[in-house]
């Protein structure tokens, strides 16, 4: 019903677009036929690629991934180039031109992965393993770092090209593939790449393959992504670790100071308590609000799946349109067998903030520091000197990551409607539409000059992205190949 009301108001983009896209639907259908006949070959290519370690802080590792991508293109007769800023992971760029195409659409993914703690993994993070053992089914999963985030989508795009070639369906636009190697580091050089290689990176619109589909396993497309900035906070106790019996509850304990600080950053219902934190949050448009209302609500299913006795802000999709403050780690002294009866010298917590329009890393930083100052903390950027420690009752050392701002593409642009229609045609139902994805992809860089940027993810939501046992559900890989074939052929 909501869809038809929307049409009356002039928002025609939601209405049964897939029926109007026979070319996209046909590309998806033919791709499925090809895929069924080539599953082993596709999975072999995924596995070989996932076997390469890809944490961007080890440049030689990510370089091997870039080389592997170039080789995968080469095997298809496509020349890929590595754009390179000295000392930085390469951008791998490849063009597939179509004679009659009027537009160039760029397709983005990243080939680097989050750091791993291998001891926490069931199977080694760079030894791709399909489980359960036995024949591969649509519900099998392949376990490896970046299985979902974001290496398999690269192979899916290449498989989509293979399928279209086999079906003799030419792309309807010029395709430009751009694969990044330091997204998980916060894309610190992506902007420089755009400055330095404006022609190689120009496009009429960008399609991003990062991020997951909806928790209901329905396809979703997103028009924005939250920004991100991280912060490491360190509090201080005595200048040397002290016997807790001889000095406990006299010498200040840095864990208590830090706990108190953290407890004051958020309430129990996801509300961030930093003064003025929501002042920079832009209100959603009616169209964006409608899209959220129309999206399936899987909150209760998710809550049960994650064994959560309660959740903090509901519904989830609405919550993701707001800023977030997440504690990603805390460390001081020792727990378990290594715990000693001592007062630690310092305690550290690591935080990531998610930003929405019109917040910026700078505005977040300014407000958080004002908050800490109002609590009486002396702020330092380096380890405090003895004089500083003696001069201030409460000291906090802050280390901010560079981060990047959020971005959002309007839902009512022609390309926005077109992507929505093509994807819906490929999958056979109305895709879920998300104004801003919860996660962060550096959309703001692609948005330069208001270039449209739209996310078309393929991986399962329960992929343990960024965590041990990251995985990809095989059916999501199959679906992703079809959706991208439809985009190549139908845009």
């Amino acid at each position: 019903m909501k869809r038809c009301v929307a049409v009356l108001l002039g928002f025609s983009i939601t209405c049964a677009g897939f029926a109007a896209e026979p070319r996209a639907a046909e590309a998806a259908r033919r791709t499925r036929q090809w895929r069924v006949a080539h599953e082993t070959q596709i999975l072999d290519e995924v596995s070989r690629f996932l076997a390469l370690p890809n944490v961007a802080t080890t440049l030689s590792d990510v370089d091997r991934n870039a080389d592997a991508i170039v080789e995968m293109f080469r095997q298809r007769g496509i020349v890929a180039r590595q754009l390179r800023i000295e000392g930085v992971p390469a951008l791998v760029v490849a063009d597939v031109k179509s004679p009659r195409a009027k537009q160039t659409i760029a397709f983005y993914a990243h080939y680097d992965g989050q750091p791993v703690d291998a001891s926490q993994w069931t199977t080694p993070p760079w030894q791709p393993t399909i489980l359960p053992a036995g024949p591969v089914t649509p519900e099998s999963r392949i376990y490896a770092r970046s299985a979902s985030d974001d290496k398999s989508p690269i192979v899916a795009m290449l498989a989509a090209l293979d399928a279209l070639r086999a079906a003799k369906i030419a792309p309807s636009v010029n395709l430009r593939f751009v694969f990044e190697g330091e997204e998980e580091q916060g894309s610190p050089h992506l902007s420089q790449y755009f400055d330095r290689f404006p022609n190689e990176l120009s496009a009429d619109a960008w399609i991003l393959a990062d991020g997951p589909v909806h928790p209901t396993r329905k396809q979703q497309i997103f028009f924005g992504a939250r920004g991100v900035v991280d912060l490491e906070i360190t509090t201080y106790g005595p200048s040397r670790a002290l016997h807790s019996g001889n000095y406990g509850n006299w010498a200040v304990n840095p864990i208590v100071t830090l706990s108190r600080l953290i407890a004051g950053l958020r309430d129990d219902n996801a509300r961030i308590l930093v003064a003025g934190f929501y002042d920079d949050v832009r209100a959603l448009t009616p169209l964006e609000r409608d899209a959220i209302a129309a999206a399936p609500n899987a909150d209760e299913t998710m809550r049960r799946e994650l064994a959560l006795g309660r959740v903090e802000g509901t519904p989830l999709l609405e919550q993701l349109q707001l800023p977030a403050l997440n504690l990603r780690g805390i460390s001081s002294g020792a727990v378990g067998d290594k715990a000693a009866n001592a007062i630690p010298t310092e305690a550290t917590a690591s935080i990531d903030f998610r930003l929405v329009p019109d917040q910026t890393p700078e505005s977040v930083r300014r407000r958080v520091e004002a908050h800490l100052t109002s609590l009486g903390f002396f702020i330092t950027r380096t380890a405090p000197t003895t004089e500083e420690r003696l001069a201030h009752e409460k000291i906090v050392r802050l280390a901010w990551g560079s981060g990047y701002p959020p971005a959002r593409t309007p839902l009512d642009l022609p390309i926005s409607r077109r992507v929505r229609d093509v994807v819906s045609a490929a999958i056979g139902y109305d895709t879920v539409v998300v104004p801003s994805l919860g996660g962060s992809v550096p959309m703001y860089v692609f948005r330069r000059g208001d270039t449209p940027v739209i996310g078309v993810p393929m991986v399962n939501h329960d992929n343990r992205q960024h965590a041990p046992d990251e995985n990809l559900r095989i059916q999501n890989l199959w679906d992703g190949i079809e959706v991208y074939a439809a985009l190549f052929a139908g845009l």
Copy 2:
């Protein structure tokens, strides 16, 4: 002046006892002469002993320490035995009888050490190193695990025996040496040892060598020690780690839950906020209060030495007569380079409580659990099941150590006065008297049947006990040898 007021009130024990103890003073003087001639030999024996790893959870390691002690006695013609409960570190016991002695005084120390994180040490924890390099001075320190806590005092007692023999001064009492191997584990079997070996462990009084001297470097003796119990608290988030962008501020973050819990356990001034926590605290006697008032106050010096901008409860010595709650560690997710943008599944904090008469581990446990229940936490002892996680909004897993209660010997017993006088005679000034030491030694076990138990420590307060870079100041070793020689000869 306070001393003479005390005499008028009938508390004669403080008054210039050292003048009346020529035998003790003579023993100390002769011991010093011998020590000056044998420093290298003493330090060699200390170093050899400290080179043996001694964490009690590795039984073979502590056993080698017990064997080393037996060998050190053997070299002196004394037969030491290892009392043994199967699978548990041995109690090493040795007797030195005197023909005309009427009493047996037992001398206790422990030979096991706290766990180490070797990466945090400047020099390897079991490679004893005297620093600074060059000639050994009284201010040199020997760095090694248990340099102060509590292996060097064992060697000091043996050196005191050597010195008295050289001076042909016979002990005035029967000496019984009892050295434990799992004090740092909370002495979980010491009570069983007393049950099983009542004759081997009987004594008219106990002198304990554990703990430090006063922060002013003055000798102190203590008549009580706080009890201890530790607690590990785990809070829970989602059942698997989640991408913080896609689920942050919706899925509960266990670090936030834990921080909030910790922030509510104490106020900023050392006051424990658990309901009724102070109901079991016995008031100090007037004599105990006088001793505290007479003790030097080194708080400001200590505060500056430790670079503390503020302290929580003052004065320190008074604070140590109260219970304490120390956060010794906290851990969840990761910080620094390993931090990933994920919501952790659980967060753990490790706490040690210090207990004073008449608290017990059981009473502390009861009150803390009532506190957590009143905050709405469901308490579990094992990892919660999915059903439990779904059924309860807030879950906390608790793992209590066994711990032990506090104990205190009255200051006005004859042996209490005698120890005070002998020690004061040996050092040439009135020793500092502490009703309860802040640290925990298992005095309660020795106190069976109200046997007097008095602590005569020797190590420096700034020894980094329980922490990286534990050390012993050489002058403290020299002083300790004299004090123990005086006790052997003068009690």
